[in-house]
């Protein structure tokens, strides 16, 4: 995923696995990231996404896009989006679609900033 976004011309900081929400948000803050993307296969999405969204709000990161994908049932997506999470991509989603989503969403955010 990281490679695909780099190939699409984006600067990607891959933090590795087993990061805590606090570590993820701190890294994004330090690096002045436009986007936090999470790949979650552990079934822990209903805890991790809202927790990261909460930390982002606390840090005033309102202009940062939070999105992701993984083993996330479609039924859980509306609940995540209520917490401010953007699109959730299922396993096997097109890497081009994901790159396009990131590019267009960040572009739109920058245009309204």
């Amino acid at each position: 995923m990281a490679r695909a976004l780099r190939d699409a011309g984006m600067e990607v900081i891959y933090t590795g696995v087993h990061q805590t929400p606090e570590q993820v948000v701190e890294t994004a803050l330090q690096e002045d990231a436009d986007v936090i993307g999470l790949s979650l296969l552990s079934g822990a999405h209903n805890y991790l996404f809202p927790r990261i969204a909460e930390l982002m709000r606390e840090k005033g990161m309102d202009d940062v896009l939070l999105f992701g994908g993984g083993i996330i049932p479609e039924a859980d997506v509306p609940g995540l989006q209520k917490h401010g999470v953007g699109r959730i991509f299922p396993p096997g989603a097109s890497l081009d679609d994901i790159a396009k989503y990131v590019r267009e969403t960040v572009g739109a955010k920058r245009a309204t900033a």
Partner: protein, 132 residues
């Protein structure tokens, strides 16, 4: 998280979705597992599929109530049998590799599978050729 010098053990579920299945009815449990397997089978990378499967097995072993763990394992076995053959193949391959990641968890799970599978309907057992 380590428990050192009185710091608290992290008792949060690894897999919240699976943890919330405790006490659910059989149909709900079977549907949960089927959706999980379908999503896992759709992961385009072998290693990532193993990474998806292992936390689920670990979460099952955290269920203290053995009868509940057996009930959810039974639902899992039934759900697996409802998958398309190519999905079953991918999940089985990921399961075999998961033994290299967490052998104690997988062996404990296999023990339950070996106990429960003979009690299930022939149509479910047929999905597990080594047990037919």
């Amino acid at each position: 998280m380590a428990g050192l010098f009185g710091s608290k053990k992290d008792t949060r579920p690894i897999d919240v979705g699976l943890a919330s299945l405790v006490g659910s009815d059989e149909a709900t449990a079977i549907e949960f597992w089927k959706k999980r397997f379908e999503l896992t089978a759709a992961v385009p990378n072998d290693i990532a599929r193993v990474g998806a499967l292992t936390p689920q097995m670990r979460e099952l072993t955290r269920i203290d109530n053995l009868e509940e763990r057996k009930r959810l394992t039974k639902a899992r076995l039934i759900a697996f049998a409802k998958l398309a053959p190519e999905q079953r193949q991918l999940i089985s391959a990921a399961r075999r590799k998961a033994f290299d990641i967490d052998r104690p968890v997988m062996e404990a799970d296999q023990k339950l599978v070996d106990e429960l599978l003979p009690t299930l309907d022939a149509s479910v057992r047929a999905a597990y050729p080594q047990h037919s």
